[in-house]
């Protein structure tokens, strides 16, 4: 796939020259439950800069989605805060584009209007927003699908529309919550490669949640392993498998190399140790 060079469309008007950053500072989240409090997240510290592709992995209940929800502004932090480009955020905003696992597109709109949804909210003219939306659709390989309806698309195409939509508002960071979990294995590998290419073309910060160790290793520049009760970041690893792919290496070759397999076992071990014994 050719990588479309993204010239900033001048929107939002003249972004600051400073590169994007995101800080999660001393973040804790407690839910009230029937028998007291449940600590979903405890003292999370995370710092991201432009070009970072951070993947969070961990067993169910380790607080990955809670962390993403706080970053997106859907959920209030009990303690601590999230800063995007230095500013504390507490509400959802167009500086953070979110891609969901499913059910998040608007089926009453066609593909291009779904992608242009956020631009319409800001009052851009139809022509401006369709130009931007078409460019983003090109990035995810869906040029020519502008007029299709959402229900006519396969699951993988729908997720690509979701990515294009998140990019259309030109956010500082992309937050993806298990975006490929509902896709079949073949589609999933293709769309992982596509996401790496989009990331490389746009240089956005990416925060990505997954249950798949292989997906995490392949995509991440930084992999954080989270453990439950209380949810916290147990380990952080720097990785470069995705960069190898972008440098032209074959994806299957990367994933079947011995260092990739060693990493896989390491991460699985990390997750299982703290999730208790594997269920037998």
């Amino acid at each position: 796939m050719s990588i479309v060079a993204t010239e900033r469309t001048g929107f939002p008007a003249q972004r600051d020259a400073a590169p994007d950053t995101l800080q999660v500072e001393n973040l804790s989240v407690r839910y009230a439950t029937g028998d007291g409090n449940m600590v979903a997240l405890s003292n999370i510290e995370l710092s991201m800069a432009a070009g970072d592709f951070v993947v969070a992995i961990g067993a169910s209940g380790c607080g990955k989605t809670t962390l993403l929800s706080v970053m997106a502004g859907f959920l209030e932090a009990t303690e601590g805060q999230v800063r995007v480009n230095g500013r504390v955020t507490s509400q959802p905003g167009a500086d953070r584009g979110v891609v969901f696992q499913r059910n998040a597109l608007m089926p009453w709109l066609n593909v291009v209007d779904n992608v242009a949804f956020g631009l319409k909210l800001r009052g851009l003219s139809k022509r401006e927003r369709h130009d931007i939306a078409s460019e983003k659709l090109g990035l995810v390989g869906l040029s020519g699908f502008e007029g299709r309806m959402i229900y006519e698309l396969s699951g993988g195409m729908q997720q690509r529309v979701g990515i294009a939509r998140a990019l259309a508002c030109d956010p500082s960071v992309l937050l993806l919550d298990e975006p490929f979990a509902a896709l079949d294995a073949f589609t999933r590998e293709q769309i992982q490669e596509l996401l790496l290419e989009v990331w490389s073309a746009t240089e956005k910060m990416v925060f990505f949640i997954t249950h798949s160790v292989e997906e995490a290793l392949f995509l991440a520049t930084r992999l954080i392993v989270m453990t439950p009760r209380p949810g916290r970041i147990e380990k952080t690893y720097q990785l470069d498998f995705g960069r190898r792919f972008l440098a032209g290496r074959d994806a299957r070759g990367i994933k079947s190399a011995s260092d990739f397999i060693q990493w896989r076992e390491t991460i699985l071990n990390d997750i299982h140790q703290d999730a208790g014994r594997p269920i037998r």
Partner: protein
């Protein structure tokens, strides 16, 4: 590389005969037109036979031809001071003004009840209280409050239509997914934008069902509304005819009301298929 589809084409029998295929069966699939035709013609046949053989007295059930005669008389306005067309227009006017009013008020109210606990708390008790009441029960109240003019009739119809439209809009507003709301918010949607561009479109399929039910209820309530001091209207025509034991005119009125309601139901269904092709698909 050989494509398997080429094999299929080669092996397909030539000529007009279709190749044998297989598919999954579903409960109640296929066209029901034949059964419908049999059902309707049997009912008409039974009617014709039972009246012509004298099984039933004309007072209870007139012959089909008698209905046709009544239709011709009514069309010419020989029964009372109005033609059938005039009765029809009066009734249409009432049902439609009430329907429009109920849609204009009921859809926003229902959406508000779906998204705001204040609106839900304030409006849920009165609506749920009056909704199951038969319109005939509160008709006297309408007359005492609003007199015997058009206002009372339209308000009676309005109340009957308002409840189903409101409740369907409310349940439609609830059908929007949490992800759709969050996605819109993370694209910068304000509260009002959220309602206009996400909640309302998501509610449209349910609203259309509510409009269909409301239209049906409107025609159901029509006779009750026109019983009192109406000058013209299909309901009035039926009510008058019953006083004079003109069973043929009663049946004529029932047929006309039924056909009109059926035509609107069909139109709204077609409209629904056109307007919300995505219904149930995501």
């Amino acid at each position: 590389m050989t494509s398997p589809s080429i094999d299929v084409i080669e092996h397909a029998p030539s000529g007009k005969q279709k190749p044998k295929t297989t598919r999954y069966r579903r409960l109640g699939e296929g066209s029901a037109v034949a059964a419908t035709l049999v059902s309707i013609s049997s009912l008409l046949g039974l009617w014709w036979v039972s009246t012509h053989l004298g099984w039933v007295k004309p007072l209870f059930l007139p012959k089909p031809e008698a209905i046709w005669t009544a239709f011709l008389q009514a069309s010419d306005g020989e029964l009372d001071n109005h033609t059938l067309w005039g009765h029809f227009l009066w009734s249409m006017g009432r049902v439609f003004s009430a329907f429009l009013l109920a849609a204009i008020v009921g859809i926003p109210v229902g959406i508000a009840m779906g998204v705001s606990r204040l609106a839900r708390g304030v409006l849920d008790p009165p609506i749920e209280f009056y909704r199951p009441l038969p319109p005939l029960a509160y008709l006297p109240l309408m007359i005492i409050w609003f007199g015997i003019g058009e206002t009372a009739k339209i308000i009676l119809l309005f109340l009957a239509i308002f409840a189903p439209i409101t409740l369907s809009a409310r349940s439609g507003a609830k059908s929007v997914s949490q992800e759709q709301v969050q996605a819109a918010r993370s694209m910068g949607a304000s509260g009002l934008q959220l309602i206009r561009f996400v909640v309302f479109p998501a509610a449209v399929p349910d609203i259309l069902v509510g409009l269909r039910i409301g239209m049906g209820v409107g025609w159901t309530t029509l006779v009750a509304a026109e019983m009192v001091a109406a000058d013209a209207g299909l309901g009035k025509m039926v009510f008058n005819a019953s006083n004079f034991l003109r069973t043929d005119v009663v049946i004529l009125g029932i047929l006309v009301i039924g056909l009109v309601a059926y035509a609107f139901e069909t139109f709204l269904r077609l409209f629904e298929a056109w307007a919300v092709p995505w219904k149930g698909s995501l």
